[in-house]
């Protein structure tokens, strides 16, 4: 049971990243893989700030700002220099590796005696899993904020930008600016997840973001499949689907590892799980369409 609770906690911490990927790939129709870099960036910025005696609220804030700046860089390269979106993301991700290493100073930084969002000395909290409830609260807040943004006039303009760009322009949307803002929000969310993960595991590692983009993509795909089966297509259902996808994804991985699979095969298994869900979704879309 504890095993699955850990998996779900991990999923909740990664929900920001999953929603970030959802924003770029589903709302803006931009395949952005700055993610690997901005996730580590979020972790590194928090870790460095915390290990220098900083407090966790400032650490999280700095991480989000750093992630937003990384996303903005990708957005500016993509929209102003007209570089392919995928390539823009790869460029920034690659550059971020050096930035992260420079900032971290070494490849791994432990955070043992530092301030931490999940650390509490208050005895009231000793009766339940404090970490889990903090994460749950964060997810509820993120969900309601994102839903509000996407339902607002600004959010409708965002959704039209990825869905019908020429139309959006004709109705007064500066689509290039919108894409830059979208990539900034997405990578800010990703960096937020990076900050949470580094505080949960109490260390930052230069390689912790490698391949993390698949966690987000997998969540989005699984979420889409779930909502397709339920038959809901509203924006709230889509956001909720991504969260459920993220949780299911982590649970399946936890189950596979618990059943004695070789941890070295984790990446192969992860890719396999995503493939199964994407395949399932496409298969059922075809049948019903």
């Amino acid at each position: 049971m504890q095993f699955y609770l850990t998996a779900i906690s991990l999923a909740l911490a990664l929900s920001g990243l999953a929603w970030g990927i959802f924003l770029t790939i589903k709302i803006f129709n931009i395949p952005d893989i700055t993610t690997d870099g901005s996730f580590t960036l979020g972790a590194v910025v928090s870790a460095v700030h915390l290990s220098n005696g900083g407090s966790w609220p400032v650490a999280i804030l700095l991480s989000i700002i750093a992630g937003c700046l990384a996303g903005m860089t990708t957005g500016i390269i993509h929209t102003k220099l007209k570089v392919n979106a995928l390539l823009s993301g790869i460029l920034v991700m690659t550059a971020l590796y050096s930035v992260n290493l420079l900032w971290l100073g070494k490849s791994n930084l432990p955070l043992l005696q530092t301030d931490n969002l999940f650390a509490t000395t208050n005895p009231i909290f000793s009766f339940f899993n404090y970490q889990f409830f903090v994460l749950l609260l964060i997810v509820v807040l993120l969900f309601s904020k994102l839903l509000f943004i996407l339902k607002s006039d600004f959010g409708i303009a965002m959704r039209a930008t990825g869905n019908a760009e020429e139309m959006a322009q004709a109705y007064g949307v500066n689509t290039n600016k919108m894409k830059i803002i979208g990539l900034a929000i997405a990578n800010g969310l990703t960096a937020f997840s990076g900050s949470l993960i580094t505080q949960i595991q109490q260390f930052a590692d230069i390689n912790m973001g490698v391949g993390i983009v698949i966690a987000g993509l997998g969540s989005v795909m699984i979420g889409e499949a779930i909502m397709h089966f339920i038959g809901r297509n509203g924006i709230a259902a889509k956001l909720l689907g991504v969260l459920l996808g993220c949780i299911l994804f982590r649970c399946v991985i936890a189950f596979v590892l618990a059943s004695g699979a070789d941890p070295n095969l984790l990446r192969l298994i992860t890719a396999g799980i995503v493939l199964v869900f994407v395949g399932l979704a496409n298969f059922s879309f075809k049948k019903s369409g």
Partner: protein, 252 residues
């Protein structure tokens, strides 16, 4: 109201593929006039419309709106006074957004997009009334995604959307080219009704010579980037399809 002075636009300048799309174009659009532009493919009709919309910018010359130059204002800022209908209804509406959300975007054409959810019942009623004017019962389906409607329905809805907020100029780029004859007729009748009832200034590009006879106050014929013939209101009344066809044949 809208005046075009000495507009020139050349694509691929200084290169073997150079195309003089527009050459010394002058045009004066009076308020409440409905200009119909005809011309063969490559005559510069779409370039002219794109210049007015702000999708492309002229090499030289001026576009004046109420005596203010706007030729360098980008499309998303010109939306404050210019609305557009696209040839392809799939482009002119957002397929994944609901009908109501499409109208929310349409209603914000003339101002900035705020972080504010428009839950106003007055607004919803206005949208429903507007859609009900089509008489097709779509007002009961405002929460469905735009993609669930046919091309003809989407084009009619895009006309309502484009004219939902205030506008000074309506641009129509072959609005019926992608529709079947019956849907095309419905959409043109609707466009004509909106333009005359709201006393709008409009420009429509078309390949359908029938439209020139049935609709509009003026006809402009374009050829190789120039306006080669202008038929004004009084002359237009006596125009026959035969004459119009002969004008077209002249080109060759």
């Amino acid at each position: 109201m809208i005046a075009i002075h000495q507009i020139n636009k050349t694509f691929n300048k200084g290169n073997p593929l150079e195309i003089k799309a527009l050459v010394d174009i002058n045009l004066d659009l009076k308020e409440n006039s409905f200009h119909i532009i005809i011309g063969a493919n490559g005559s510069g009709k779409s370039t002219l419309l794109n210049l007015l919309a702000g999708n492309i910018f002229p090499d030289s010359g001026e576009i004046l709106l109420n005596n203010k130059p706007i030729q360098n204002v980008p499309n998303y800022k010109r939306s404050r006074f210019i609305a557009r209908i696209f040839q392809n209804p799939v482009i002119g509406t957002s397929p994944d957004l609901s009908l109501l959300d499409n109208f929310k975007l349409a209603a914000s054409r003339t101002h900035s997009k705020k972080l504010w959810i428009n839950n106003s019942l007055v607004f919803k009623k206005k949208v429903i009334d507007s859609i009900a004017s089509l008489g097709t019962g779509l007002e009961n389906r405002i929460n469905q995604p735009m993609s669930s409607f046919s091309g003809g329905q989407r084009q009619a809805l895009s006309l309502l959307m484009a004219t939902f907020d205030d506008l000074q100029l309506l641009l129509l780029d072959e609005p019926t080219a992608a529709l079947d004859p019956s849907a095309a007729k419905t959409v043109m009748e609707l466009a004509n009704k909106i333009i005359s009832e709201r006393k709008l200034t409009a420009i429509m590009v078309t390949h359908d010579l029938r439209h020139c006879i049935d609709y509009g106050t003026n006809i402009l014929q374009m050829q190789q980037g120039k306006i080669v013939r202008t038929i004004n209101t009084d002359k237009k009344k006596d125009l026959t399809p035969g004459q119009l066809y002969a004008y077209f044949e002249d080109e060759k």
